[in-house]
Symmetry: C3
Subunit: 440 residues, 3 copies
């Protein structure tokens, strides 16, 4: 376990304002007209644009979730999503980033043990020249690295947010989300991206089918089990579907998620390398489109009608399905990977409804189940080792599930995690926020 | 006619996973710090970002159309738009790309005849080093080329989607859209962009006022003629306007289309050339703004009220009006080109309503009529030959119209293209999809 | 005062079409593979992408404002926002750009006096090679400079639009907005960015906390004072809150504004310098997130409920609060700057309601008050001179207030600035535009 010194951070607190003086050229990185430096600036710019695209995914999630849920719980969902991105970035600054990347054990064997890391403040890193040049990394500055990863971090909690929507108690969820994002997500991520034990085992997960999506999906599953289904959905007379309140909003959400994925996967190339980024754009798009078409066809056959919300989940299923192997799977095989995900997601959503796991937006299926599929797909189509992939899936999903179950169960004991029957019936907007989302 | 071998594709199917091995540096394109390579990577990145922006136009179309139509047909419109982008990308992969660009007759005279091309799978191209370096093109890799053009391809069907909304039969439309995008669009496009006979004639259409927009507009016109107007619009007592259901949604759509046009036109520079891209951004923006103001003023005078949906179409009219000449028309003249388009679109929409061509979103006027205007504007303000422009317009629009009329008429005979009266009255959402778009 | 010759512009009008010939390589800027040129093209591309992001802020404003206002005034708000961006870009072309940047007095002391500048048409600048190469600027072409700044220009009027919503007379507002954007905004801006007297005084305002946001906020304050509050809000029985009509729409607006700010602040680096842009992305994001959390907590304590629209304003408050010092304040201190803004905005909104200044969207607080705070924050945390900052704030805000008060008061005398009681009650959509925003 690595506890980083926070001394330099306090210096930064005192010395603020000296980072970049107003009219001087930047101190560290003279923007020279050398090919070396222009290459670095180009790479760095792409990582920042990708960060902006991943940021937009949070609007995508907010729109998708509030569109798929009931009108009376809209404000609550939007509020949670605003909290998640704000809290996610700040906790990542204070503890997540250095937990996620605790140091390279290959370079410094004493850096950490490969299993458990707790880091300090991002600003605790010395603000030397290296942080703004390719000395830190060929693809980005220290701060571009931070902001790109910070945008990812909040995603785990957002996935949970959708699954527990319409009956979760606000304060309990905010506490849960904060601890999940601040500690659980970066610890699990460090196993793979932080040179942890999964990196040793050859686990391959390009942009995070497992370490982001399945992590979030299994955290969501644990919470839903603790929380129970929405009242009135699973009745003695069978399943009573709860209709989505605003499908244009949900469609905006799904398309913005698709768009954001160009940054999620495209930025994970970690440079603007022409081969890498163009390959990833192609596989990502083909998988998403195949996922949508396969899901559309499957749900049309199974449900006997052309279903829009299933189709939206089909895009996302395809995207989650290619995330682990976007740089390793050929274009043609990415169609297969995405298409299979689009079929899986339909049956998975139906299955969870059958066993009365109530997930209003299908998050467990899209992110959890298709995240597993996407990780295995790299073994089938991208040359990764099946057993390595399996070890990664099991450890990360088990950790996400156990951490979330334990924490959410504890919160249930201490303060409750669910609104009471009257509030659920009335809707969380009026009950918790004092006013509905739509007014005259 | 060129039938490309699909043998290499099957090899790719088998050899999948070798494209990019997990932890190795990319095989073909070592991202060297040479000015040559950085230039290529920069160009390539801009094409990919442009592809993402053009992708977003599909959300723009979906939002604009569903906002301008009636509430009861919203799911149907969104569903069609989801299908179109998914189908559009995949058909472009399987047949469209190599039909669109069947080979350079200047280099290889046996490549094709200049009139009719049918190509094979995108992945059938050998996956050699050339595809990932500037050997393929100075501005982009093979796969960036594919994905940028794939995002364009679905546009033609999206334009039709708006015009036939609120009464078209879903399955018939899906079949029509697939054949239009898979075959008609890339064949017509090959005449201009694929070194076909229009390229020989000096036809100038920078980003596709004719080969994308007017093509879509005239396909739409043909379908609307076959389909007939919505019931209850043209009555004995004159025109009964059908009000748009959600103008904020339509506004989101129009602004996203405007944004996406920076990629549509800006990416058509086919590199990140500073002069080219900055010129195109300026002319595109000025034309759009002039179109909106001119349309706003014209419709205010003619309709005696400040009309929002007209104004939104004014932005789009200006954008379509500059698309053919965005790199060839001066900033000041782009204001004229856009402004004239903004006036034209008002009278065109009124004209089509007068002759009872019912186009719920004004797609025929915006894309068809202003597409023609934009193509001619390059002759007036950008130095192109008037007769060449006219030949391009006539052949492309005639082909789009005849192909669409024949195919849609055939579909009408075989399976019908229109929902029955009861379904139209009830709305397609409940009739075809089983549930409305907005619920409690 | 500088009156630029418009002769070259008329030449351009005649010589249109020669700017870029169709099939020739671009005349001025051969896109050479020199590191020098690639650096320039990269910088230029980032400015253009930033312009596109700032463009999107106009959709953000339109969505936020229409979401926070009443349903019956939605069309009116959207119409105003469409007008503002279209008019803003065109007036900037015809007069704003050369007023904003009247020439460098350091280079040519006769260029202007530092206080009052009125410029001519953007196209009046000679279209020489220099305009498309780094001879004009190391970071962008002449036209990229124009389009980036043009997207900023309309912002001032958009801020006012939100504050006067729901009772302003459309035509009066359109006239006011045009004169504000065409003359007042670029004149005030020239004092700082156009080498005017504030530049001499060492006033530091990186991307415009004062010269864009506080300028707009104080123009809004003046208009609201002239206009008076919405009927029925401040009653004998105390304040009667008017509920927002569509909170998902408002949330979309706030997130798009946040996204656009990556271009607003990020593009203000004026190059793709790796240190500059990554620093600005980090400080901008941290301040926004801190603003949201601080505002969420403060409003929860003060208003006794978790308030979504306050939280959305918290993001914006944080963003406005870091805009002046995004490149000069350290990451940790940007959290403080944003967090303080998030606290201020709550009390400011409550304060203006107490003194019966009715601002339906909180624009005066977000842009005016937090704009002042952001400008002072550079003195506290970024090394700027407190007295210089104060002088800049006072002169710009006073000018915005006096200009707006005088002009709006004049309009009130001549034609009235407010709809009558019946129209306000009925809603502006039906009264001024003939139809509501949402229909069946």
């Amino acid at each position: 376990m690595t506890i980083k010194s926070i001394l330099p951070a306090s210096l930064l607190l005192l010395g603020a304002g000296t980072l970049l003086a107003a009219d001087e050229p930047s101190e560290y990185a003279k923007f020279e007209a050398s090919a070396e430096y222009v290459k670095f600036a180009l790479n760095n710019l792409w990582i920042l644009i990708s960060a902006a695209l991943v940021f937009l995914m949070h609007l995508g999630f907010a729109s998708l979730e509030s569109g798929l849920c009931q009108r009376k719980n809209t404000v609550n969902i939007l509020f949670k999503n605003c909290f998640i991105i704000a809290m996610g970035v700040l906790t990542y600054y204070f503890v997540g980033f250095n937990t996620h990347y605790p140091g390279d054990r290959g370079v410094d064997p004493s850096a950490w043990n490969g299993f458990l890391s707790i880091g300090g403040m991002a600003a605790a890193e010395p603000g030397t020249a290296a942080n703004f040049t390719s000395e830190y990394n060929a693809g980005y500055t220290y701060w571009s690295d931070f902001i790109f990863q910070a945008m990812f971090a909040a995603t785990a909690a957002t996935i949970v947010s959708g699954a527990v929507a319409e009956r979760v108690k606000l304060t309990s969820f905010l506490i849960f989300a904060t601890l999940l994002v601040a500690f659980a997500y970066p610890i699990a991520g460090s196993w793979h991206w932080g040179t942890g034990f999964l990196a040793d085992k050859g686990f391959y997960d390009f942009a995070g089918s497992t370490v982001v999506h399945a992590f979030g999906g299994f955290a969501a599953l644990a919470c839903v089990i603790v929380l129970g289904p929405r009242r009135g959905k699973y009745t003695k007379d069978g399943l009573k579907p709860i209709l989505p309140s605003n499908l244009p909003l949900a469609t905006i959400g799904a398309f913005l998620l698709f768009l954001g994925w160009f940054g999620f996967n495209g930025g994970s190339v970690l440079s603007a390398d022409a081969q890498g980024v163009s390959t990833v754009f192609v596989t990502t798009t083909l998988a998403a489109c195949a996922g949508a078409l396969a899901c559309m066809a499957t749900s049309w056959i199974v449900l006997k009608k052309p279903d829009l919300s299933m189709t939206l989940n089909g895009f996302l299923a395809g995207l989650v399905g290619i995330t682990a192997g976007a740089d390793a799977i050929s274009p043609t095989m990415s169609i297969v990977a995405g298409g299979v995900a689009g079929v899986i997601v339909v049956f998975s959503i139906l299955f969870f409804d059958k066993i009365k796991i109530d997930d209003p937006v299908g998050a467990i299926s899209v992110h959890g189940v298709c995240g597993i599929w996407g990780t295995l797909a790299v073994a089938f189509f991208g040359g990764a080792s099946f057993s390595s992939q399996l070890i990664g899936i099991i450890t990360v999903c088990a950790f996400a599930f156990i951490f979330s179950f334990a924490l959410f169960f504890l919160l249930k004991l201490i303060m409750g995690v669910r609104v009471d029957e009257k509030e659920e019936h009335e809707g969380l907007d009026v009950a918790e926020h004092g006013a509905p989302a739509y007014n005259e």
